[in-house]
Symmetry: C2
Subunit: 155 residues, 2 copies
């Protein structure tokens, strides 16, 4: 971060600064870059894969289709993601006892240990990235963003 607004570069931006999408996009790019440089560099993980690990850890026996819904992506997109997590011994496709079409996703022991480390790295990243905001500003920002995209008051 350089100036008041490094992407402005002294140039006029017209109505762009009045658009939520413009700022949300820039903030999202910035936070993903920070994630890549901190968490990603330490633990070799992306925000998307980290999110999947958390969802699997929090929802034992989750199927790929349910995970796809939760991540708001197509089922086919999940396949290669789980392939990667399995190849790295972070998660496994367990067979469902009741439905032979679907898998019960689970973390491996190694995956659980890795996730514990990742969580700490992610929280450090969050502290660093949000350092300019007070705790109440952070809360308020999350409240407003959630209200914006979910159309409701609270996460």
């Amino acid at each position: 971060m350089r100036e008041r607004d490094e992407a402005g570069g002294g140039l006029g931006r017209g109505l762009l600064p009045r658009l939520l999408g413009y700022h949300l996009r820039r903030a999202q790019v910035a936070v993903f870059k920070h994630f890549a440089a901190s968490v990603g560099a330490e633990e070799n993980i992306t925000p998307g894969l980290f999110g999947m690990l958390v969802m699997i850890a929090e929802n034992p026996g989750l199927s790929q289709s349910r995970l796809a819904e939760a991540m708001e992506v197509d089922r086919s997109t999940i396949v290669t993601a789980i392939d990667q997590l399995e190849a790295r011994d972070l998660a496994v496709r367990g067979r469902s006892p009741t439905d032979r079409r679907s898998y019960c996703l689970a973390l491996t022991d190694n995956g659980r240990r890795a996730l514990r480390r990742m969580r700490e790295a992610v929280l450090r990243h969050e502290e660093e990235f949000a350092a300019h905001l007070s705790p109440s500003e952070r809360e308020e920002l999350i409240r407003l963003v959630v209200k914006l995209y979910a159309g409701r008051d609270r996460p």
Copy 2:
């Protein structure tokens, strides 16, 4: 929008809801989808190309390299974008009188007319998408997002 949080789907999300990046990502995806369904459907334009049109309109004689810096992308990424705008008769690569290496980007007459229409569509899209937020909440949200990614107080 369905529930308090449609991507939750009743599933546990662990620490994800405490992460700014998680919400910024979801909000950004949602606003781009809304843009595509409203402005994109009406005017056949993406947020990125719209942003470029605005920057060219606001900064007459802008070069591709300066535009790339403003958009925070590589110079090579700009090439095909300008190709598209030229192919659609929205912008032109004018020759610089002082530097024969660089172009002076400008809107065509058609581009200016199109941009006027697009601006209105974008503002309608903004009103719809941010309908759940009061004017002061919108202002506060922008203030906080900018403070987050620019590390300062004001856009």
